[in-house]
Assembly symmetry: D4
Homo-oligomer: 256 residues x 8
């Protein structure tokens, strides 16, 4: 920024011809053009916690990154965090909370705008719950109301029908399923709203670590279904939040 101000000063004082200034501007490094600001604005506009993907990091590394982020006064969430990570984080942020099933820790230091709509998180089997919780807790931390509807896989599809009110109340639906992943198609065939499908790596044999569920979901004939990576509960919760935000926020914020 200083260089840019300097150039403008010279133009102002007639020390630099306009054409020469134009030439100089073209050759300025990007950051001097205030490019960095865009990122800053983007961060504020998102109003979302800073996110640490803890898998593959030591508890100490996570703690160090957390400490740096805390200085900015933002909210923080850590995904794929086991209890050892949480214990280390708690040392530097005693107010940190731990969502065990979701494997997420959260530190809240700033207020979050609340979205009006509800996000429903539907899951097929008991083993899919960690991914479903990762999606649900992520959505909650981002300012959404979440309703959970677990253990409604297609092998017991009547249980889904008995709980259709949940699907009706929701503005966005996240479906989490491993093995054959057929639940996502069934749900998307019943409703007329955005459905985000999360394949999980639950299964064995020809589930090929989630590939089967992923392909099923991508091939769904039911309109409106979109898919995220295998086990990516965070991604689904984040995308659902962005969609849900379009339906308005409780404090009357205009949409970005």
């Amino acid at each position: 920024m200083e260089k840019l101000r300097e150039i403008l000063g010279k133009v102002h004082r007639g020390e630099l011809a306009i054409d020469d200034a134009l030439q100089l501007l073209r050759d300025l490094p990007y950051e001097d053009l205030g490019f960095a600001k865009i990122d800053h604005h983007r961060a504020l506009r998102r109003g979302v916690p800073e996110v640490i993907f803890c898998q593959g990091k030591t508890p100490e590394q996570v703690a160090r990154i957390t400490r740096q982020m805390l200085e900015k006064g933002v909210n923080i969430m850590g995904t794929r965090a086991d209890t050892r990570v949480f214990e280390e984080v708690k040392k530097i942020a005693p107010d940190a909370e731990y969502h065990r099933d979701a494997r997420i820790f959260a530190i809240k230091r700033a207020t979050v705008a609340r979205n009006k709509g509800i996000i429903a998180v539907v899951s097929a089997g008991t083993s899919d719950i960690p991914v479903a919780e990762e999606a649900a807790v992520t959505a909650e931390l981002l300012g959404n109301k979440v309703e959970r509807l677990y253990d409604v896989g297609v092998a017991g599809i009547h249980r889904l029908f008995m709980n259709m009110e949940v699907l009706k109340r929701a503005q966005v639906i996240i479906v989490v399923a491993g093995m054959e992943g057929a639940l996502a198609s069934v749900v998307a065939g019943l409703v007329d709203k955005p459905v985000i499908a999360v394949p999980t790596s639950v299964g064995y044999g020809a589930s090929f670590s989630g590939l089967s569920a992923l392909l099923t979901m991508l091939n769904s004939c039911a309109g409106g279904l979109t898919v995220v990576n295998i086990d990516n509960g965070f991604g689904a919760g984040f995308a659902a939040h962005q969609i849900n935000k379009l339906g308005g926020q409780e404090d009357g914020c205009a949409l970005s």
Copy 2:
């Protein structure tokens, strides 16, 4: 419905005990319980054209299905339709329109509610345009304003930056890309709104008919990105419409 009415009539006339009626109701076939109505409602609630996937059907088959649908007075669109299909359809519906690049024909017989928000359709290369157009025309037929931003692949990424206003104006963004599919990540990294990625089968060698682009998009680190099947422009346009609808409709319709 007649059976149900008959049972109620008997209950009303005291010819049938309430417990016996309860028992009979449990054993009624589903359609007699008015189950079919749910489907009907769903169709109306969606307010979307009936869709014919023409690929793998003869022009005659498409025309026959079209004729049946026309009797219901609904809007109709046919995807993956070549000119031979269109010519056959035109014989029975002279008002049919053909979107050549999108390979879509459309017959409009009913009014469509308009969504307020804009959907941006961004594509990487010239060869991706048919899929991009399938997404764009689908979204338009469903009642959305669409802005197109084509040929902005990562190999010439400055062209994307020169057109960021389009991304800023949009409420939902569809990114269509084959080969390496990196454009979706780049776009999702720049904005804070729902982004739907469509991998295309464009490419050769290790693109493996779209697998490479599909994997790239699923693995994106950029939050908010969801993915549909390879070449599934229709699915992306449909999902974008469902999301865009959440931002409100021009004629003030309440959201479903």
Copy 3:
């Protein structure tokens, strides 16, 4: 057989010691031990038509094989037979029938025992009908009553519920589905009978020519589901017949 008879004759006449005869028997070629009879018996016991897989054969080759089989007086069916094949076959067997949708021709020269139970053939989409018909016609030619329930994919799952009587009447169910293949799981979750799933190569993109549907079906959590090869309508019809036969035959045949 002659050699075996000769040995026994020598034993009978005392020309051959029993120990030497034992040794000779061990060294006889298999066919001389009447091994071939096993195959013969098997063919009769099956009571099924001889089957010609026509794909990859010229009409002339199919006709030549047909002519050889006709001499045995058995029933014949040809699968994956196009009209050109049928025309050639008709020249040598004017009573041949052609099932166009199933791509099967049939020549009936012997009576077939009828099974008591019903086989239901359920399919997801219009494009799956050729494979569904291959299964249905195969089962019919083998002596089974077949009920068809088509176009009941999970995207419109209420249509399946409205026709549950078909599932209830059946003794064995064949489910034919491409794309995501979720229909098989849904059906198997609703009933308590053998369900045979046939993935089809219908679809595009990440359906990978039927791989997606195949994996979905193999990973189904619904008990009792077994799977055959992609597009293998014949195999499903054949297996369903073998199962259905266990429920008894109309003319009172004992089970084999």
Copy 4:
């Protein structure tokens, strides 16, 4: 159910017009229509133990689920259960039995109808026995007589021929094989009855954790062969039971 009874009461007392009642019925939540009963009936009709898939669950979780199920008075079986799971289960159900090779625990609290036919379980190698036992014990717990024929892989195919009587006696055959999986084809080529093939993950290198055996079995030219997921002994045993049931039950139960 209460709401439904209330509506009928009002109709009976003339407090509600029949047309209005019809309208109300259409809007009732599903469970109030007695939908749940279907599931209940289904459970009874199956007459099968409740099944717990223990893999990926802690011994404590399995014990907790077991305790809940025991209250219903049903039979229970747990698959993929190691000894630690069994010990925990035994604390709450001292009559629990453990089938070590099959990795199955069973708690019998209700009588099971016995099927007349025999199920043969054939396996190729020693390492395939755990999966074969999972199939065999499952079938036994469901009320079937089972004959085992182990270690008869194609590399020593004469051993299979020496035991053909087992194949002849059986009404349904389960074939369990890893590595090349060819045994299933050989068996299906020798008999005229339903054969269920179970690929196993036994092997190394290009066995790709069971993929090789799976593909072999799916591609079998032998009619009547159907396939379940890799290592899915339970699924094979369950499907074989459903088929075997068609041949009649010892206590003369009518088939469902």
Copy 5:
């Protein structure tokens, strides 16, 4: 550019405070900041022909794109161009040349700087020649001397040794091979210079359309080997040019 000049003019004339100017600059659309120039410079700096990937385009489409490019006075090359494409191009550019084996047409309108070093193009089998030629002609059109060494696959490895002088003379080596692709490893093991490997889709069966050769090359233990996409002769020629340029240019141009 006009807006930027206008802002500077106002600053110069004292009509705009510097801080306000800074603010305005931050909000300027990118193109107004002269961003587009970067692309322009980049094009000039590369000094390379504009490239049209003709595969999947009609001859008419290629001709139209060619005409637009010709107006800029740049060199043009079209890859994957068949004779029908060339004939159409020739109508609008009679000086266009066609390299039949390489499937490349070229139109030279500007001088190209010549690199000092030699690029060797080595190929394994006769069927690999089209890809090898695409690489060789691309490199030539970009201003490089190219030596070809064809038909020296590992099955006849002595032929490679008899021509090692070619490898020694070269500054960069491109190795083109299908089937097992082992040639790239052998060459890279013999020399101490950059080697670019191009797998080809030549082969059948387990070559899986070039996947086998691709994996072989990626796994090479020989240092210095890098790989491009299957059949991507153009990419290899282009990368080799960029590397070769580092060794200096004949007309004494400084390196960019």
Copy 6:
């Protein structure tokens, strides 16, 4: 060779010091060291026809290559040759023979040593015959006696047993099978001799163009089984010849 002779001449005449000669020798191009001879010897030692892989070549290209080879007086065989190729070849070599099923043409101009042992070629289905014939004719042209045993797939395994004499007579066995490919394992389990397995691309669905058969064969538990590429009848015939040669040749040639 001339340079080498020249150096030795100078050493002989004392015009060149021995140390200098050593230095010169090290720097000689390889061909001058007589390296080429190795190839020549190898060609003679093999005593095999020169082979042209015709797939992907025009009839004219094959004819041109054939003409060049004919000048060397060697035997020639062309694989994957259709009738159009043969007709073109016949113009320049009227004594060329065509093996239609094997898709091989052969031109015999030199005598071939005959191996003593027999090679058996066993195939599973009718559609596998082209590959089986490619193997059989290749082996015959290389100087081997071949016995064919076709249509003995595992679905009709008794036919294999009825012809075990063929397996017993053979010194090397080639097994050709598509779909599930189990035949190779069965044969290798019955004999104690080298067995070469050739997977074919015959099949559909999960045969994945031969991948299924390939994996089956690689995973065979039967000792002594080795595998070649999918559809590579030529490779199998060639390898069988090399093995069969070890058992001695009729004219008493010493083994190489």
Copy 7:
């Protein structure tokens, strides 16, 4: 055997008509026809040790199987045996030997015929040695002379040329290589004898646990190359033995 003897006795004494005897023979179980003997003969004819594949078995299981085999007086070898297995085996067979690199234990109780020819085992990298040793020790235990040539990968191909005498002396060659697996092609291109390629799972990344090397070897253009499963050193050693045996045995045994 007793039943067969009894039948012959009755024929001999005239108690059974020949036609009735023929009928009885056809219905005899296979083992009574002396079928088992075939297996016995096969075992003797092979003259090879009984083999135990120890991977996935506990040391106790291996010891128990070993004890059973020892009673037959045959030679025994155990592959994939770690030191814990060996220690357990040694308790029951103190004369057992352990080949650490090959992970093989051997117990010699019978003499083995020696083959005349030499088997060369060539390997690419240090990490491939365990598989190479498995092949080499297997071949030695089966009665072959083995020469090892290790660490001659294509990245240092001159080392292979400096040791070509080993290749020349051998009658059969085994090539063991991971990563890119190109060594097999290079060796097969240099010699005119049977070459067996063993891909290994050595490597990382795109070696995909040996898939890369496997595909390379299957796609080799060099004639005479056949392939076994990834890491299957035993299979290669066994096949090489069967081939080497054709070249004659030292004690003048006729070939089987």
Copy 8:
């Protein structure tokens, strides 16, 4: 060499006719022709450290190999070396250095020529740093100046633009990225110099251990991009060195 000198001596003394000498030379083993020298020269010419790939070797094995190499007086580097390996190496080479992040140990005993150009190493995420460091440290040990630019993934692409000076200064660029791997395309689209892409196995789900990033990079539309194996930081650093060397060396060495 002695044999060669002896032959020349005999020629010189007239004890050996030139033709006989020629014959003898042809039959000399390769090493006697001074072939080994080529390797020696190659090693010296490369001027690179001897490299030990430590993964899969015990610390003791690495130490033993290191000791052997030290005797040659060359530089040594060990890749994929954990701290246990380093501790063992330090015992025999106290001057060994350890680069923890790069998992490389280095022993410098000889001077290395310095290249003039700069190599930039760019990486996408924190988890990619070990591979990036392996590339960077490798390049440094080979005599290159390296600039690191980490954590500039496409999700935060503005950070890349803010540091474009690094890309501009570099002569060769290495891009390291896992997950979607899009960074490589973005970088190659911005510059006009050789870019080497290294996919990493960082990620989960559909990243398939680096396959996704690998395919993305191979399919890049950006010219000049070449790719190495997944996680192959060493290979990238080595190739970048070979390319960078072409731009000249600081001590004025002529290029090889």
